[in-house]
């Protein structure tokens, strides 16, 4: 309880004093218990007034102050500063809003406004009486970030952070970094090559001493909170040590008798259990696919660097935060979806991009020369509610238009048919769509109610559509190849999801806290998301979000310590019976169970607590309170306001 409270009532020029009788207010509060002095001031925020308040605090040894003036939004921090400079804890300062909420709101009624102002000031005094000195909490934080996923986005986050002085662990599940980008071939109308892009980034990554790259690595355990996370990382064996020569690699791969579908080419080709890195994948060191390898040992003879005795290693790391950049998987069409898996000339867009890379000057698939290509859009995107993905995958319209342009440029005699649901080449991408139409590509539009039908007659394949652009006319064309334009789905990673507990949306992508205010943060403090694990994005957008995540987390960790708002929840262990209500109510995972003298009680993890107070009303024993909003404070304010 505070005993020496100073009260200052501001005229705000005439803004307050015109509609509120300041003298009456002063008179009414002067005799309140514990009020030591009451003063009025023309402008409380003016420099001279601030100095006066400061010297009052020092000379009169005030233990709390109340300023009745304008909205706290304007000057709360001003007067907190005054208090702090004069050696008073800023949380022993209370601002009472008698301008916006009294003199202005009731400028039609001076008596009423005055009466209200008096009660508001009294409530402020009551609050000040009950106020506690709060210290903003400082915890040491490691300026170290674990970046999960080393595609273009993850590598950009890592480089950005490293350049700003943050230590980075770049953790890639695969044996090679680069993610999806090297698989795409040409990625922009300017001719940028995905493989070259990742090569550049990889070189940047290895050049930086403060980035440590782990491949074949997975997060298996996580504990702690922002500033101080402890992680366990499992490193899968590569079974190759050192840097074998290209010839040795080739020989070993040829020697390997196990053939499996090559993921890099989306199953269009086979690879061996002895995996060679593709163009654009790094490091350019082979790895053995443990799940396929029969341990026959054929490769050991061809390549001396092979070491089949390697085992899983676990390492521990200490980091201040995470940036999750785990990317996407292309949507996998269902068996029979537009003939996929049934007709031999139906493939997906990612497969087609691989096919384009694999063919030199002539486009051939399954031994057949391809001239007419039918692209069917929105496969796995914008589906019916009950059927699957309702969202738009954002990149596909542009990617397909660009693919069509590139295919025609590379193979010449190609006719592209685009069966779409309205082309969404937003922004500058419109120019790609325009280029595709100008080269004579045929765009046909269908609705979800009447999707294109694929029909095989003899050895020819036909696509039939009710074309919206031709007033619903039924049209048909022959197609040599049917390319399903598949959307993006978040990359499956159950282990990670389990460990990090990032909430996902209905679309199964990770959810940010707020799309505009905090677009790269999740409700879990210190766990950030970037790139396509959050929502479909193109490379540019992935890079932007990855670097934005770097900026965000660096600005938090760079000082080496975190300063937490002191408005936090507090548990009274004596009253707590651990019913779990508060921990369920907390959206930030800030309430944990702990034991005090053998009794299970709740504990607030202060570094996670955001001070919303959601936990307080749900407590059946009133054992949890929010600092600054305790029962005593709020109820004494109510008492003051209730005075007749």
């Amino acid at each position: 309880m505070k005993k020496k409270i100073g009260v200052y009532v501001c005229h705000c020029g005439g803004n307050i004093s015109d509609h509120v009788d300041i003298e009456k207010v002063k008179a009414a509060v002067r005799d309140e218990a514990d009020v030591y002095l009451v003063k009025n001031t023309l402008f409380a925020c003016a420099d001279s007034s601030q100095k006066e308040i400061g010297s009052d605090i020092e000379n009169e040894h005030l233990d709390a102050i109340v300023v009745a003036s304008c909205s706290p939004k304007l000057h709360l921090n001003t007067f907190r500063g005054v208090a702090q400079r004069a050696g008073l804890n800023p949380y022993n300062y209370v601002q009472v809003n008698i301008r916006e909420q009294s003199s202005w709101a009731h400028s039609d009624n001076k008596t009423g406004a005055t009466e209200k102002a008096i009660l508001l000031v009294k409530a402020g005094i009551a609050k000040a009486k009950e106020s506690e000195a709060l210290q903003s909490l400082k915890i040491p934080a490691a300026n170290v970030v674990a970046v999960i996923g080393a595609g273009v986005g993850g590598m950009k986050t890592a480089i950005g952070l490293a350049d700003m002085g943050t230590e980075v662990y770049l953790i890639e599940k695969d044996f090679f970094v680069g993610g999806r980008t090297p698989q795409w071939g040409t990625v922009s109308p300017n001719g940028d090559e995905g493989a070259i892009l990742t090569e550049k980034l990889y070189k940047e990554v290895v050049r930086r001493p403060n980035i440590t790259l782990f491949t074949g690595a997975e997060l298996v355990e996580k504990s702690g909170s922002i500033g101080n996370f402890d992680l366990k990382i499992a490193l899968r064996p590569r079974f190759v040590s050192g840097n074998p020569s290209t010839e040795a690699m080739q020989r070993a791969a040829e020697a390997c008798p196990v053939a499996v579908k090559d993921d890099f080419n989306f199953g269009l080709t086979n690879r061996r259990a002895f995996m060679l890195p593709a163009q654009g994948q790094f490091p350019q060191v082979p790895a053995i696919d443990q799940s396929a390898c029969t341990r026959c040992g054929e490769c050991t003879a061809a390549c001396h660097e092979v070491d089949l005795t390697q085992e899983v290693q676990t390492i521990t790391l200490h980091v201040g935060a995470f940036v999750v950049n785990t990317g996407f998987d292309p949507y996998q069409p269902a068996q029979g979806e537009y003939g996929y898996g049934e007709l031999d000339n139906v493939i997906t867009l990612p497969q087609f991009r691989r096919l384009m890379e694999m063919n030199e000057s002539e486009l051939v698939f399954n031994g057949k020369k391809i001239k007419k290509i039918a692209y069917i859009y929105c496969v796995g995107s914008r589906q019916d509610d009950d059927e699957g993905n309702t969202y738009c995958s954002r990149y596909c319209c542009t990617a397909t238009s660009l693919t069509a342009v590139l295919a025609k440029k590379k193979f010449g005699n190609i006719i592209n048919f685009h069966f779409n649901r309205g082309i969404r080449t937003y922004g500058k991408h419109e120019l790609v769509y325009e280029a595709a139409s100008k080269q004579g590509d045929i765009f046909l539009q269908f609705s979800l109610k009447s999707i294109p039908q694929i029909e095989k007659r003899g050895n020819k394949t036909y696509v039939k559509v009710k074309d919206i652009l031709t007033a619903g006319k039924e049209l048909e064309t022959e197609a040599d190849l049917i390319v399903l334009v598949t959307g993006m789905v978040p990359r499956k990673n159950e282990l990670l999801a389990q460990q990090l507990k990032i909430p996902t949306g209905r679309d199964h992508f990770f959810n940010e806290i707020h799309m505009k205010l905090r677009p790269v943060e999740t409700v879990i403090d210190g766990v950030l998301i970037a790139g396509t694990c959050q929502s479909p994005k193109n490379i540019l957008e992935t890079v932007n979000s990855s670097m934005a995540a770097a900026a965000k987390i660096n600005s938090v960790l760079t000082k080496g310590e975190l300063s937490l708002e002191p408005t936090l929840a507090k548990v009274n262990p004596a009253a707590c019976d651990w019913c779990d209500n508060c921990s369920k109510a907390c959206p930030f995972d800030a309430i944990l169970q702990t034991e005090i003298n053998g009794k299970k009680v709740a504990r607030v993890n202060e570094s996670n607590c955001k001070g919303c107070g959601m936990c307080t009303p749900v407590c059946p024993t009133d054992a949890i309170d929010l600092a600054g909003y305790t029962n005593a404070q709020v109820e004494s304010m109510i008492d003051a306001l209730a005075e007749a």
Binding site: K372, S437, D441, I442, F443, A471, E476, T477
Partner: protein
Amino acid sequence: MTQIQPELTEDIKKYGAFDFTACYNCGNCTAVCNLTEKNSNFPRMMVRYSMLGLKEEILSSKELWMCYACGECSDTCPREAGPGVLMSNLRRYAIANYEKTGLTRLMFKNNPFFIAITLILAVVLAFFLLTIKPDTEVARWLFRYVPYEVLHSFGMGAFALMGLSAFVGVVVMWRHIGKEKKIAFTGEFFKKAVNAAKKVIGEVATLKRYQNCDSDSSIWSKKAVWLRPWFVHWTIMWGFIGLLVATTLDFIFKDPATTIWWPSRILGTIAGILMVYGSTVALNYRFRKITKTYANTLMADWMFLGFLWLAGITGFWLEIAVAMGADLFINHVVLMIHIIISMELVILFAFSKFAHAFYRPLALFMHNL
């Protein structure tokens, strides 16, 4: 079920429209056009047919002929796909397909061929005319080298040839559009036909729809009526018809090149003035490329307008020469040019842009049925 024929798009492009595949189907062109009606939508649907290569849809569309190429659609097309330009060129495409000898197709698609055939025809005509013995019986000096009788029968032949190929073209067009419109010759047909014919005649006489074309355009609505495209077109058209009638009268009465006060001569003079005025203004617009339509001038347009202009100018030259009795060598040369150009105009009538003169009224007629 209609088959898409993308190969056809390439063929259409050879008739002169290159950019139409840029179209993104917003429909601006159709709606900005003053001449589209509830049951006739162009140009977008024609662009669409062209992109998809739907040949039958193009050949059976009357909409093609309802456009007067004011160019508003091309000027406002957000993708600069030139829908109006495509309309003009699709008309060539249609003419080339209605005309069965294939000559038109060659002339439209192949400029050197077009020039060559024009020149060869001129040489043949000149040779033919010059190798014939001078006619001494006709007193008039003008026909000293080219006998009037020869001209007469030659002209008849040219007319017959033109008439025959025009007739074939008309029948082909009728069959295409008729199939689409399902026209049957029932009792009611004739009543409708009379009405339709009235409408067509009215339209041809006044170019009322064409006038609508210009009245809303941002460029033309600010210009005087006599400078607007519809009027220019009207002068050329009526100038030509007038001259055709005058020449026919001359044929019938076998007394050409007499006094200018002869009624058919008066008609010829007025018509000539109209035609020369019209073709001069039109050539001027095309030289200055004042709208996208005029900017897109093809060989056939230059030839056609140029011939009309030359025919008119040489006609007046001769008229003056006759009036002055100037029996000079140069005037004989001019007569030769005049005859050759007029003959070429008539002979190529059914094989050139000129053919729209009978296809368009027919399409309008069928539209009104």
